[in-house]
């Protein structure tokens, strides 16, 4: 047994940084709190890389599979003899992979924010929240049991809430943070119900026991059925509901575009690379249970992912706020990952989708963080989020331009950049499983290339805009993370994921399936070409197309009126027909009972308060009468 106990430091260092910067942040210079956070994350990143190298290569015995090992565990709550809640560190291929993703992106964002947030009044507060988020996310990733995951799941939710509402003077930011919190909390209700059902049926919270092929979860196949699905299928669908809320899957996605009100580095860290893939991670974590016991739940995962990716890609074509385009793109790409998990089987080559989903999670984290940080550099230079205020920026922002272009090519799936490999694996997995899903994903690949290059050309080419003051390239603290992430985006595709991260821990062979790879590259190139024709120079084609699509364009521009539907459901239906009766019941029945008791007491005290008249002769009269009465009773009746 190789000792990995030091991995418990990985979440604890950001926690310490959070406590220091959070409690003492106002006493130190802003830059000091930034440096504390960044140094902490640097150490965390080093530890994560060491762990990854040791786990995957140096400590790994050639030929054997990768197994899950508990580096450290303590009992946190001892509820009964059988029911305990533990906290610990679980290392297996996906958690080690997530460690690398989270610590890399988080470190990049910490460094980047030194430049981006410079001069902001809440600089120390920002770093405290970033550290809190890093702590919670790392804790989530390393959770040994589903309850620990739930705790950290809520913690990332609250740090996301705090960071979206970072500019709390802005009403829109406050509304966005509330929306994100409420929507994800609603989804987490499903998660909690799922946890309770699953642990009730299996008698354990522990992941290793849950996913073991001989464990109690797998034994639940069949079992009691409700509405045609077994109880454990329902439990897994409820758990997926929590994952869908966190990962902004249709129809729980509405919080993600609004979450862009937060500072841009936060969008890169939380709402692109790490927190929003927690849902994918959750499904991947419980994947053996999904695959072996509840294939119906996996179908739900696949279709929700497929629909979300198409839906978001269409909306992304019409938005003009660059961060919103990226937000919908994130949603679309997470849909890809969900779909990949959903079409996967367990073990060997059947687990291609599982590998592809995690692979895409990894590459997506790199290029989407790069895109968001690039967008941050652009916003930093132009002081606007709207692509209509931009154009011709390639001359002013050379580094941002090149890195952004690399990211766009990566997400469009141009070989040999990393996005090509991961997307190709997903398409292969979808092709072998379900034709409709494959067609959807194939279309989305084209649409993705189109909207990303629409964004790219509108920002860096297009019309020559006159700026109030000449845009200037961002400082080094911001461009260096861009370059590092660009390198990551280019080369991440060469990692041998099929050897490292597989559903059963055993490596399998993959090869590029040219029958699928060539068409998928072609449709990406078609998307790029169309975008080039339409947006490289100012043309009339976009407006003509927009009016040509008519209602479809208007619908997509208004995000298919999802927000309005939610408002209608909550304000018109829930508030009127549920909240009001409940409020009436509370005010009249619950409060009424209490008021009645109070009134009875009050009335009776008014009635008897005359006894306490303050007149001494009255007291004397009562006393004498009572005495005489007692005397009479004692003499004649007793």
């Amino acid at each position: 047994m190789i000792d990995y106990t030091y991995t418990m430091l990985i979440p604890l260092i950001p926690l310490t940084a959070f406590l220091i910067t959070g409690l003492l942040g106002h006493k130190m210079k802003p830059i000091v709190s930034g440096l504390i956070g960044s140094t902490g994350l640097f150490v965390v990143a080093l530890l994560s890389y060491t762990t990854a190298i040791r786990y995957f290569w140096t400590d790994h015995i050639e030929g054997s599979g990768y197994s899950a090992l508990k580096a450290f565990e303590v009992t946190w709550l001892n509820l009964t003899d059988k029911l305990t809640i533990n906290l610990g560190v679980l290392l297996d291929p996906i958690s080690v992979m997530m460690l690398v993703v989270v610590s890399t992106v988080s470190l990049m964002v910490h460094i980047y924010s030194l430049g981006y947030m410079k001069g902001e009044s809440g600089f120390a507060r920002f770093y405290a929240f970033l550290s809190l988020f890093s702590f919670s996310m790392l804790g989530l990733v390393l959770a040994t049991n589903i309850f620990q995951m739930y705790i950290f799941w809520e913690l990332v939710g609250v740090s996301s809430f705090l960071l979206i509402g970072f500019y709390y003077e802005k009403p829109s930011a406050v509304a966005a943070s509330k929306k994100a919190f409420i929507v994800t909390r609603f989804a987490d209700l499903g998660f909690l119900v799922g946890i309770l059902m699953l642990s009730f049926m299996t008698g354990t919270f522990d992941f290793r026991t849950l996913v073991s092929p001989t464990g109690p979860a797998i034994a639940q196949a069949g079992g009691a059925a409700f509405m045609g699905l077994s109880a454990i299928t329902w439990a897994l669908i409820f758990i997926f509901m929590g994952g869908a809320g966190k990962s902004a899957m249709f129809p729980l996605h509405i919080w993600l575009p609004d979450a862009m009100e937060g500072p841009t580095p936060v969008s890169a860290l939380i709402h692109a690379a790490t927190m929003v893939v927690a849902g994918v991670y959750l499904v991947a974590r419980l994947f053996p249970v999904y695959a072996m016991v509840a294939p119906d739940a996996l179908h739900v995962v696949a279709w929700v992912g497929g629909i979300s990716s198409l839906f978001a890609a269409i909306i992304a074509c019409t938005q003009t706020d660059i961060k919103r385009v990226l937000a919908y793109s994130t949603m679309s790409q997470i849909g890809y990952m969900m779909l990949a998990l959903g079409v996967s089987g367990y073990g060997g080559h059947n687990g291609l989708g599982f590998m592809a989903g995690n692979f895409h999670l990894f590459t997506h984290a790199m290029f989407k963080a790069l895109l968001f940080l690039g967008a941050g550099a652009i916003i930093h230079a132009v002081h606007s989020n709207d692509m209509r205020d931009m154009g011709g920026l390639r001359k002013y922002l050379p580094v941002t331009h090149i890195t952004f272009l690399i990211a766009c090519l990566t997400i469009a799936g141009v070989p040999p950049l990393s996005g090509f490999f991961s997307k190709d694996e997903i398409l292969v997995a979808a092709y072998h499983h379900s034709m409709p899903l494959f067609v959807i994903e194939y279309l989305v690949a084209g649409i993705t290339a189109f909207y990303m290059f629409r964004l790219y050309y509108n920002i860096f080419w297009g019309k020559e805009t006159h700026y109030h003051h000449t845009p200037h390239e961002a400082p080094f603290t911001m461009t260096i993370p861009l370059m590092i992430l660009a390198v990551g985006s280019v080369f991440a595709g060469f990692l041998p994921f099929h050897d490292l991260v597989t559903s059963d821990g055993l490596p399998f062979e993959t090869h590029i399936d040219y029958a699928i790879a060539i068409p998928s590259v072609l449709i990406g190139v078609v998307g790029i070409v169309i975008a080039t024709i339409m947006y490289r120079r100012v043309t009339l084609i976009p407006d003509k197309l927009a009016s040509g699509f008519g209602h479809l364009y208007t619908w997509a521009y208004h995000k298919f009126y999802m927000d309005e539907v939610y408002l209608f459901v909550t304000k018109k239906i829930l508030f009127n027909y549920v909240s009001r009766p409940v409020a009436w019941f509370d005010r009249h029945i619950v409060d009424g009972t209490m008021n009645l008791i109070a009134r009875i007491v009050e009335q009776s005290s008014v009635m008897i308060k005359g006894f306490q008249s303050g007149r001494i002769q009255q007291y004397g009269y009562v006393f004498v009468t009572g005495t005489i009465a007692l005397v009479i009773i004692f003499i004649y009746f007793l």
Binding site: K609, G610, Q612, S613, G614, R615, Q617, Y621, V624
Partner: protein, 115 residues
């Protein structure tokens, strides 16, 4: 009448115990009546003195008729007299203070200590 007492052994000659008891009962209830009906605090204090003295008469009378060889009843009535004197002093001090505050010693006007 209720008590059968051999008066021949008692020295006091002709006055039987009942007469003492009757007079003390009358005094006692006069005192009670005065305490409950008079509005003047000084008069009420006098009523209390009546009550106390009726008790004294009882003590002395019972002592004399039942245990002529003991003096407990006498001593006890002496104690009552001493306490009554002290009580009168305190009561009058209170009444003077009440008069200063209320410009009256009417007991019905001193009803601040109520609900």
């Amino acid at each position: 009448m209720l008590l059968k007492i051999n008066t021949s052994k008692v020295m006091t000659g002709s006055i039987p115990l009942q007469y003492f008891l009757i007079i003390s009962t009358l005094m006692f209830f006069t005192g009670i009546y005065g305490f409950l009906t008079r509005k003047n605090l000084i008069t009420m204090l006098m009523s209390i003195e009546l009550i106390l003295n009726s008790v004294n008469i009882n003590f002395v009378a019972f002592n004399r008729f039942l245990y002529p060889n003991n003096l407990h009843g006498h001593f006890f009535s002496l104690i009552v007299i001493a306490v009554a004197a002290a009580e009168a002093a305190v009561a009058i001090a209170i009444i003077i203070n009440i008069y200063r505050n209320f410009r009256s010693i009417d007991v019905d006007r001193v009803d601040e200590m109520k609900f």
